[in-house]
Structure formats: C-alpha cells, structure tokens
C-alpha cells in the first residue's frame, strides 16, 4: 500500500467517525424522547411512541437510507448523502435505543417512584432526579452494543457514494485491484474503532455507576457485553418450567 492510499483510508475513517457521531447524537435524542414517552401515563402517547418503534425497528436501515436518498427528493426534499445516511441511522438506532431507555426506566424499583411521590416531586422531577440517574448506568452496556452496531451501519452509507471508509476502500480496490489487502485493512480499522468506542463506553459506565455509589462489574478482554443480559433473564425465565 502506498502513501496516497493510506491517506484515502484515513479520510474515510474521519467521515466514518463523523457519520457515527452525528447519527449517535440523533439516535440518543430519539431514544430518550421515545423511551420516556413509552413510559408515559397517557395511553395515546405510549401508543404513538410504540408505533414509531415498530415502524423503524420493523424496516431495514438500508432501505430507509435509500428511501431518504432516492424517494424523498421526489417529494421535493433533496438531502445530501451524509444527511440521508445520518437520518436513516439515527431514526433506526433511535428506535432500538428507545427500547433500552424504556427497559432501564422500568428496571428502577417502583418503590423509588413511590418515595419520590411521597416527597411531592412533580412527574418530571421524579423522572429527572430519581429515575433517570438510576436508569442511565443500566443503559450503558446496551448503548455500547448499539453504538458498535451503528458504527457497522455507517458502512451502508458507502452505497450512497459517501466517502466514508468502505467507499474509500472501493476506490482503492478499483485503482489497485488488491481486494484482499484493501478489505483486510479496513476490517482491521473498523475493529480498532470498535475497540476504542468500547473502551470509552466502559469508562463512561464506570463514571455513571460511581456517581450513584456503585461499582462496575468485571468484563472480558474486549469488554463489550452482548445483550445477553436481557437474554439471560429471558432464558432463565423460559427455563423455569423444566
């Protein structure tokens, strides 16, 4: 590999990271908004939030991306590729994230809510001061997983000819013909980014737990935990009748 090719890759990495950060910000906002709406007292709010989740979880992120890029302009909105990508990833992963937020909120002991009612906190104060601070550390491991999935999802944007890492690899392959080398290198690059993201998320988790007086659990060498936490409770429950 020559210098200019490496430069091509690093430019791609930079766009990939931008795409990941923008989409994550959008997804995080949606996740908290929709996730809290799904725990609302009002049935209609819960229902609408549920519809959002089922629609955006039900369809494919890539199809959504193509729709935003190719179909939306026909309605008069032309989106730049990077924004179509950001929007599609943010909307999709926001729906997944909202399930994480909802689950974490519901995992806070009901007695905590009652104690907050007994002190006359308003519903919003209960959420902000009591429920969310306890729920957020619970969200960190599943958010880490989603962030890695989101990072992997940014590769889809290459199909809109956005110059992120996978697209740059395509250019490199076309100019050198060295498919194995090119794709081998960028796979390693993705892996390194995923590893760094996981380290940062672990750090944030430790901080969040420390801020409520808890110690984090031990994790493996890659320290990314798959959503088997839910899985394990699911499985333990399913095993209950045997």
């Amino acid at each position: 590999m020559t210098g200019p090719l490496w430069q091509l890759f690093f430019e791609g990495v930079w766009i990939t990271i931008q795409l990941m950060v923008y989409s994550a910000l959008l997804a995080g906002t949606i996740a908290f908004g929709i996730g809290m709406a799904r725990t609302s007292r009002h049935k209609s709010v819960r229902f609408l939030a549920g519809v959002y989740v089922e629609i955006f979880r039900g369809t494919s992120a890539l199809v959504l991306m193509f729709w935003l890029f190719f179909a939306l302009p026909l309605l008069g909105w032309q989106l730049a590729g990077i924004w179509a990508g950001t929007l599609a990833l943010g909307l999709s992963y926001g729906a997944y994230g909202s399930e994480v937020v909802r689950g974490a909120i519901q995992s806070v002991a009901p007695a905590q809510r009652e104690a907050a009612i007994a002190l006359s906190f308003s519903p919003w104060q209960r959420m902000r001061k009591v429920i969310l601070p306890q729920a957020v550390p619970e969200m960190m491991p599943p958010f880490n997983n989603l962030l890695i999935e989101l990072l992997k999802g940014t590769a889809l944007a290459s199909l809109l000819s956005i110059g992120e890492l996978t697209f740059q690899a395509k250019l490199a392959r076309l100019s050198t013909g060295e498919s194995a080398q090119v794709y081998g290198i960028i796979l390693v690059m993705y892996f390194v980014i995923a590893f760094l993201v996981t380290r940062v998320m672990r750090l944030l988790e430790r901080r969040a737990k420390a801020s409520i007086g808890q110690k984090p659990e031990k994790a493996g060498w890659f320290s990314r935990k798959l959503p088997v936490e839910e899985l394990e409770t699911q499985i333990a429950a399913a095993g209950g009748n045997r």
Binding site: L75, A180, V228
Partner: protein
C-alpha cells in the same frame, strides 16, 4: 412533484415479490448456517484447550465487531482470487450466516450456562459419557431456552438482507433499484420494499413474543 400511483405499484409488484423470494431464501439459508456455525463456536469456546478457545474467541470478536457489508465485499471480491467461486447468493448466505453465527454463539453460551449445575452433576453421577451428557442432557435443555433469542436474530438477519444487493444478489432492494434506474421513479418501489419489510417483520416479532411468553409459563 410526484404523485403516488397504485397502477405503477401493481406493475412493479411481481418483480418485487420475486425479490422477496430471494430475500426469504437468503434469510432461511443464512439462519441455518448461523445456527450450525454458532454452535460450533459455542462448543469450541467451552473447550478446556486454550489454543482452541483463544483463536476462536479472537475470530468471533473480530467478525462481530466489523461491518457485514465489508465482510460481504471481502468474500465477493477476494474468494474468487483464491480460486473459490460461488454465485452471489451463495456468497451472501455465507456472509450473513458467518456474521450472525458470532451472535448465535453467544445465545448458545447463555443457554448452556443457564442449564442448572445439578444437571451436570446428575449426569456425572450416572456415569454418562461426555458426549452423551451433551447430546442427551445439556443441549436439549439449552435449545428449548434459546428459541426466542435465536428467532430475534433471524428477524435481524432478514432486515440485513438488503445489503446483499450490493454484491448483485437480486433481492427486494436490488429489484427496487433496478426498477428505479429505468423509470427514474424510486418512490413507489422503495416505499413498497419498506412496507413489505414491516408487514413481514412486525407480525413475526409478535409471534416470537407470544412464543416467549409460552416458554416463560
């Protein structure tokens, strides 16, 4: 400004359904690969032999933490240069199955861990051979527990099949794109693909949740 035309939808539907059939094939075949290969990883990772567990866990982590799309490109462009030529669909099925096997491995692991220690002890007390313990005692109990979780990954795989269009597999998205490229009207084809995805994946996930509840009881 374009208006929605049901006539146009009617015209393109046969081609989209053709794509849907490919999508379904890819999902089913990919699932079979993922189920089988995942079990291999899970058993290898439980092996007491370090030189086996370490490389397997490295490979599994690597595949799980890198994009499926790039893995598909790798298989599609690199395998032929190694003298292995598969059709696009076969390559796609291998890619999907390989990628998701790293997730199903984790599901099996959790399922096996959830079998109570007493079951192992009872098998030992009966002097069952190791192989028999696995096939007659542990795995049957583990499989029962993992069905809903595996089902969720099948749905996830289904939603990832549009990526196969990037390696020229004629799935739904591929068909929609080729229709759009000739008519310059992407609205109906891509919208219909999105709707078809929801129409299939939402009831399936409801079905899975019902199954899960039944298993819980």
């Amino acid at each position: 400004m374009n208006t929605w035309s049901w006539d146009y939808v009617g015209e393109i539907m046969p081609q989209l359904l053709e794509g849907l059939w490919i999508t379904v094939q890819a999902t089913i075949l990919g699932s079979l690969v993922a189920f089988a290969l995942g079990l291999v990883w899970a058993l290898a990772l439980r092996s007491p032999v370090r030189w086996l567990t370490w490389p397997v866990s490295a490979v599994v982590e690597f595949i799980r933490n890198t994009p499926l799309l790039v893995q598909l490109f790798f298989l599609f462009f690199v395998l032929p240069s190694w003298g292995v030529t598969f059709g696009p669909l076969t390559t796609g099925v291998i890619g999907l199955g390989l990628h998701y096997s790293t997730y199903t491995a984790e599901v099996y692991r959790a399922g096996i861990d959830a079998v109570p220690a007493g079951q192992w002890e009872a098998a030992t007390a009966l002097s069952l051979p190791r192989r028999r313990t696995w096939t007659a005692v542990i795995l049957p109990q583990a499989f029962r527990r993992v069905v809903p979780a595996l089902g969720n990954y099948v749905i996830a795989m289904f939603k990832d099949t549009p990526m196969l269009s990037a390696i020229t597999v004629g799935d739904m998205l591929f068909q929609a794109n080729s229709i759009g490229a000739t008519t310059f009207d992407y609205m109906e084809p891509i919208t219909m693909v999105g709707i078809l995805f929801i129409v299939i994946s939402y009831p399936t996930s409801l079905l899975l949740r019902a199954l899960e509840r039944r298993l819980v009881r």
